[in-house]
Symmetry: C2
Subunit: 452 residues, 2 copies
């Protein structure tokens, strides 16, 4: 047993797993094709004190720390490194407080997104960030990756909902950032710096997040298009002229996969389907305007409802896009983002990539944010096809970057997308990020080699 593991066992006893066989469940996130190593120990922290002791021990031994929430990440950011400590926070899952007057929740990092949503609903409130993983991902992981979702086009991403954090620095110092304040310009914005930092700066042990009132009425519009480009032109128009609470894309490949998985009968002859939601009843001016816009932009068929059950069924079908595509073969899921006006050209690029590399790509995603998940489906046993899939993956990211876009809209860089960071930002920006990291983590122990 490594000396660091020995020290951890002495300090934290049954909270520490050191048997290599028993550590397996904590060594990887859900990303395919990412590498992972063998940790020296897994610490299942149940309190801030456990986190402090773990980080102090790591610093004393110079041992890297990979912090882990629910392990639902898609970028290899929580994969173990050889000889590291995996610091698992899933048992720190208390909802400490819901303050109705203030409309905040204070939670430990292991709270599952959907569990927070249910707890808020008991008070007529909701937590709006709604990543596809909301049933399995934790608030701590959502904060680490600045997770997105469907409703971000109207309500913002995770970062827009974090009011205050308590975090532990690698030397064991506990810091508190921000506050439940609508305006606060005292000091540098440490809260926002920690959100999306992918475990490279500090360990968040408590978060205060903003809640919103539950919406009384919600309408859903389904619109079919004869081409992906036409659908994307409609997205540009409808987000310019109205304020939908979601505009989700499924291409024909995705729709067919979802139909096959669910037994639903969404029109799979259209090249693209847009699912749009609006706060308000179906007769509301904005909802009607949304339908008028997509029809003017060439929708071949449109359906509008404010039946919540019907709307939920459609959006749930969209939420099943990824598992449905996974039934077709091995997948490489991308997470690119482009300026919204570049969406028509980006989907044309994705189709060209599929043709050039002779691979099937199912594209779905949060079109209103310019955030697409082109998903390459391939046979992992076929080495040549696997190589073509990986080449296609790279070309899609490069196409997004060429449009002034990002390598990751909402999943994080982790280890999987690290090569693209230096293609998006220049050396000066990356150097600066690393110097900022050193301000938190002078020994470079926090998830080293990840994110930037």
């Amino acid at each position: 047993m490594a000396a660091v593991a020995d020290d951890l066992v002495r300090a934290l006893g049954p909270r520490v797993v050191v048997d290599p066989d028993r550590m397996t469940p904590w060594t990887r996130d859900q990303s395919p094709f990412s590498t992972s190593g063998a940790p020296a120990a897994v610490v299942r922290a149940a309190s801030t004190d456990h986190v402090v002791v773990t980080l102090q021990t790591a610093t004393r031994h110079g041992t890297p720390v990979v912090t882990r929430g629910a392990g639902s990440g898609l970028s290899g950011g929580a994969n173990a490194l050889d000889g590291c400590i995996v610091l698992a926070l899933d048992e720190m899952d208390a909802i400490v407080d819901i303050d109705v007057a203030r409309r905040t929740a204070t939670v430990q990092p292991g709270v599952i997104n959907a569990d927070l949503g249910r707890a808020a609903a008991e008070h007529g409130l909701r937590y709006t960030p709604d990543p596809g993983s909301r049933d399995i991902s934790s608030i701590g992981g959502n904060i680490a990756t600045n997770a997105g979702g469907m409703s971000c086009c109207k309500y913002g991403v995770t970062a827009d909902h974090v009011a205050a954090l308590t975090a532990v620095l690698p030397d064991g110092t506990v810091i508190r950032t921000g506050g439940p304040l609508r305006k606060n310009v005292t000091g540098l914005d440490l809260t926002r710096l920690l959100v999306g930092s992918e475990g490279t700066l500090a360990v968040v042990v408590e978060a205060t997040v903003w809640l919103r009132p539950v919406v009384a009425d919600e309408s859903t519009i389904v619109a079919m298009f004869a081409s992906l480009e036409a659908a994307m032109r409609a997205v540009v128009a409808v987000t310019g002229e109205t304020t939908p609470s979601a505009v989700e894309l499924m291409d024909r490949t995705t729709v067919a996969a979802v139909n096959a998985m669910t037994g639903m009968a969404i029109d799979a002859t259209a090249e693209a389907v847009l699912l749009m939601t609006y706060d308000g009843p179906a007769a509301a001016g904005e909802v009607v305007a949304g339908e008028v816009v997509v029809v003017a932009e060439g929708a071949t068929e449109v359906f509008r409802t404010d039946d919540r059950a019907e709307g939920a069924e459609l959006m749930n079908a969209r939420r099943l896009a990824l598992p449905a595509l996974e039934r077709l073969g091995s997948i490489l899921l991308d997470d690119v983002g482009v300026p919204v006006d570049r969406l028509p050209r980006m989907v044309a690029d994705i189709q060209a990539v599929a043709a050039r590399h002779d691979v099937t790509i199912g594209t779905f995603g949060h079109a209103a944010d310019g955030n697409l998940h082109p998903t390459i489906i391939f046979d992992a046993q076929d080495v040549a096809e696997r190589d073509r899939a990986q080449a296609a993956f790279t070309d899609i990211v490069r196409a997004a970057l060429a449009h002034g876009g990002t390598a990751s809209g909402e999943h994080g860089i982790g280890s999987l997308k690290l090569p693209f960071v230096t293609e998006m930002y220049g050396a000066a920006e990356i150097d600066l990020m690393r110097r900022i990291k050193a301000a938190f983590d002078p020994d470079g122990l926090m998830n080293p080699g990840r994110a930037y």
Copy 2:
């Protein structure tokens, strides 16, 4: 002439002012009672190159740099330091681009907020951050202080509107942060870190900001209350149940001052007036609901209109609160923020402070954000009264901090409020901020001793 001034003159010729008498206009912002020094030189930059050369020269000589926008700040953050270079950006005032499809504007830092608003309006768009200084303050200064305003309760502060920045580090390196992307989780959020950093990290030379569509209809509700506490309880209720685009407070002292200045006849018998605006016509459900809530919360008189001219006249009266109070004597303007649910207790505290120190305080502000501007009016010639005013100022900030609030909601810490930063955050957080500063500015030349 100092050696650094000599070098600047050699490199930048007529862009440099070194005559002490001629430098006076660039040595102070608009904060009263803040200290300022005598600069070695003023550089009136007209390009990014001028900024680069200035910073490189400063680094070579180890000379502090105080960056300055329009000079409308209220916290002493742009006041000259002895022997510093004042880097004035007011001549870098080009609107580089307005991208209608993308709904962004790219501007140089010297562009005046209201000028950007007028340029956007030509495209049916608007720039929503609306600090009280919008007619005189620059976007660069707004970014440096993370400026707020009236509409932030619905549309967010300056930070929520900055998509991308180009900035110059003290060694002359030009960095680019962010992008016109609704979702982007690649790397650390350098954009957000620069916003609100008050010139302590780098010099912003270009910003891409988000615009929004112009709102077709706007309604205004005026509500009178028999006490400040009742008005604040109404704010808690009305922001919990509806989404106003502004909820502004004026107390009786402020209303009387505004009436005296403008000849208007707003009811000055009420202890507090709330001015609320909503997007939408006066008959819209939410606007009616807003009126119902304030009546239920004890408004003694309510008036509702969607006449834009009438609404604008009322909001302009509120915008004149500060100049109107300035006519009554010397003023000390505070800028505290508290969690919204603490507003009733905070206004009670302000009244207790006024009584305890025997000073007049006119309180106005952005109540929906918990952001108040209690303004102490006093006779600066009367030493005892001046001391009492300063004691009251301190007690108001301490009261806000005791409510879990902030020393500055939107004006910045500058030099004036520096003592309170260490009362809001602990030593660990301040140390961390200073280490982050060092990552940008290893020699400590950027607005040293300000903000944190």
